[in-house]
């Protein structure tokens, strides 16, 4: 990847970081309700993988920690913030919320709140791709704790059996809510677990954008060539608790400091500075611009957007005026 592209990626990653931090503030201000799961610390995973893919062409599906994956898939951040603010202009029209970001026009197939729920959905999307005969792939991002659900095993088995074009990306942040992986999981290295299904896999440093991007390029080449699924494990860390209702008291400060010393945004920034592509002042200006953009465009749009009409509360439960409910048009 060219350095000019990396500079663009740095800007996008920093935007995602500031977006999520602003979500935290908006939650404290009570403009965002319900559950809120934030992504800071894990940015190199989504950006490293999706830079190697074709966002908007390839399908992406993930869990409830979904804002950043949607943004990188092409969603307008203003409409994502409006969703978090529960507005009609939200990507899911204020019906979904933080855990249910959907933007089908950009082939972002949703955030789902049941841990492990998207595993079979991703395999099914891949089955749909296979039937349509296109060159798209489905990329499914889930955390390490999802791998202890039955859907993990059931879906990997079928994906391998039927050679479905699906890339499973495991964002291993070492904790399932508040339980450390070695206290919940017999095999800690997740990439080893898929060998039971003859699925090729790799483990990579999830804090280093370049390494993630390289590993994802290889993985995506495999999946797109019709050879079946691939499993990529990325070692990463979330800076905040599992959700806003998590006190985050279960992790040692030394551990947190160790990981924040390997911040994915700072690592990419310093690499560009070393290469002479960026100065620290330029970076600070970029940061100021992004903070202004989030405040002036994203937050403003969400704040000024209307709430959904209460009269529409029963809309979208079932299809509207589906002729087959009445037995169709009799021929």
């Amino acid at each position: 990847m060219k350095n000019t592209d990396k500079k663009r990626v740095l800007r996008e990653m920093l935007f995602a970081r500031r977006f999520e931090e602003r979500c935290y503030e908006a939650y404290v201000e009570r403009n965002i309700g319900g559950f809120l799961h934030l992504y800071p610390g894990e940015e190199a995973c989504a950006f490293g993988v999706l830079e190697a893919a074709q966002p908007g062409h390839d399908y992406v599906i993930t869990s409830y920690r979904d804002h950043v994956h949607a943004i990188k898939s092409g969603s307008d951040p203003r409409h994502i913030m409006a969703e978090l603010f529960a507005r009609e202009t939200g990507v899911s029209k204020g019906r979904g919320g933080s855990m249910h970001i959907f933007d089908v026009a950009h082939r972002f197939m949703g955030g789902y709140a049941l841990v492990g729920g998207p595993f079979p959905l991703a395999a099914g999307i891949a089955k749909g791709i296979q039937m349509q005969g296109g060159d798209e792939i489905c990329i499914c991002f889930l955390g390490d704790a999802a791998n202890n659900q039955g859907t993990f095993h059931e879906s990997l088995n079928m994906a391998a059996l039927w050679k479905l074009p699906v890339l499973y990306v495991c964002e291993n942040n070492l904790y399932g809510i508040g339980t450390r992986i070695d206290r919940s999981t017999a095999v800690v290295d997740q990439y080893q677990r898929v060998s039971a299904y003859n699925i090729p896999s790799a483990q990579e440093d999830g804090q280093d954008f370049d390494l993630v991007n390289r590993a994802a390029t290889k993985a995506i080449k495999h999946v797109r060539s019709g050879k079946g699924p691939y499993f990529l494990e990325l070692m990463t860390y979330r800076y905040r608790g599992h959700s806003m209702s998590d006190s985050n008291a279960y992790r040692a400060k030394t551990e947190e400091r160790m990981w924040s010393g390997r911040d994915p945004v700072i690592m990419l920034r310093d690499r560009l500075i070393e290469a002479g592509e960026l100065t620290l002042d330029e970076y600070k200006d970029m940061d100021t611009d992004l903070l202004d953009e989030i405040e002036d465009e994203v937050i403003r749009f969400a704040t000024e957007s209307p709430e959904p009409n209460i009269a529409d509360v029963e809309k979208y439960v079932l299809a509207e005026n589906d002729p087959w409910v009445k037995g169709g048009v009799q021929s």
Partner: protein, 326 residues
């Protein structure tokens, strides 16, 4: 009209819909090479191939979720779950994804899947193969539930369900696959909402669905012959949404109601129909509605005990006689 068996009607609906639309697929355990436990997909594997007639692993939640994901891209999966008892394992994907995805995506996605599964109690299959689960499915917003009582309905409901853009659960019955009945020779799409008058009457309404429609019809014949009571039988082939208008119209005519369900009474079809009668036509009633249900027990293996746990036509007759005080 041609008389065919229930399983043949389902197979014909599959065949026509798969011929009509290359995105229609069938999935389930043993449905391909074997042709289906109840033959409902017999011959389709040979005709449409393994990409469209898929023998799945025994992973109910996994393959149901796979079908749902495929339906996001316009695939129309007809998913057979071999026994409704196994559908418990797929509840996560049916309830959490299929029934909710249209709503929580603000109308962007839909999951037009069909899940077919035999519920009901057959002969001595034991507690874990005798569940009646229609009550569970019909309580979930975003899901349609239909349940055929005849080959004609089985054929026409499946055809409409495949084309409908909502997820549809079709509750079949293990004892009914060899039942014979007339099915139109021309293509026929049965409505997914409403109810049918299976027998006209004036004195009492017997509400049934799926197998209990037949118990109601047997009971109506006995009541007419021995007691001069002319019962109307309403076939509730749609359990969600229940046909409020059909329920109101019949009770307004007969002023008495008995609801007959194969399941345990709590939180069931009987309870729901009674609630609708209360809401729609309470002042039309000449007697308190009665439900005839199974006992509140897991189904026993012993055949005599199994029979004792389930209602039949005689129980329906007894309930009606009690209403009339005869």
């Amino acid at each position: 009209m041609t008389e065919i068996m229930f399983w043949e009607a389902i197979m014909r609906a599959h065949d026509e819909e798969m011929a009509n639309d290359p995105m229609v697929i069938a999935m389930g355990e043993d449905i391909g090479v074997v042709g289906g436990t109840y033959k409902a997909t017999l011959g389709l594997y040979e005709k449409y191939g393994e990409q469209r007639v898929i023998d799945t692993p025994i992973s109910e939640n996994g393959y149901t979720g796979l079908g749902i994901g495929a339906s996001f891209l316009g695939v129309r999966p007809i998913i057979e779950i071999m026994s409704v008892n196994f559908a418990w394992l797929a509840m996560d994907q049916i309830f959490n994804t299929a029934a909710k995805v249209r709503y929580m995506s603000g109308g962007q996605l839909q999951a037009p899947i069909v899940v077919r599964s035999p519920g009901g109690t057959a002969h001595q299959l034991g507690s874990q193969h005798s569940a009646r689960m229609e009550k569970v499915f019909m309580g979930i917003a975003g899901l349609r539930v239909v349940t055929p009582s005849s080959p004609r309905q089985a054929y026409g409901l499946l055809k409409s369900a495949v084309r409908c853009n909502d997820p549809v659960f079709i509750n079949e019955h293990e004892l009914m696959y060899n039942m014979k009945g007339e099915v139109p020779d021309e293509e026929y799409f049965h409505p997914l909402e409403g109810s049918e008058i299976a027998r006209e009457g004036r004195d009492v309404t017997l509400f049934g669905y799926n197998i209990s429609v037949h118990w109601c019809l047997q009971a109506a014949a006995l009541l007419s012959k021995h007691h001069g009571i002319e019962a109307e039988v309403i076939d509730l082939y749609t359990l969600s949404p229940l046909d409020r208008e059909g329920i109101r119209n019949s009770v307004s005519k007969t002023h008495r109601a008995v609801i007959v369900e194969e399941a345990e009474p709590a939180v069931g079809v009987g309870a729901e129909v009674m609630a609708i009668i209360n809401e729609e036509c309470f002042f039309e009633l000449d007697a308190a509605p009665v439900r005839v249900s199974a006992l509140n027990v897991p189904i026993p293996y012993n055949h005599a005990m199994e029979k004792a746990a389930l209602p039949d036509a005689n129980d329906v007759v007894a309930a009606v006689r009690k209403i009339f005080g005869i």
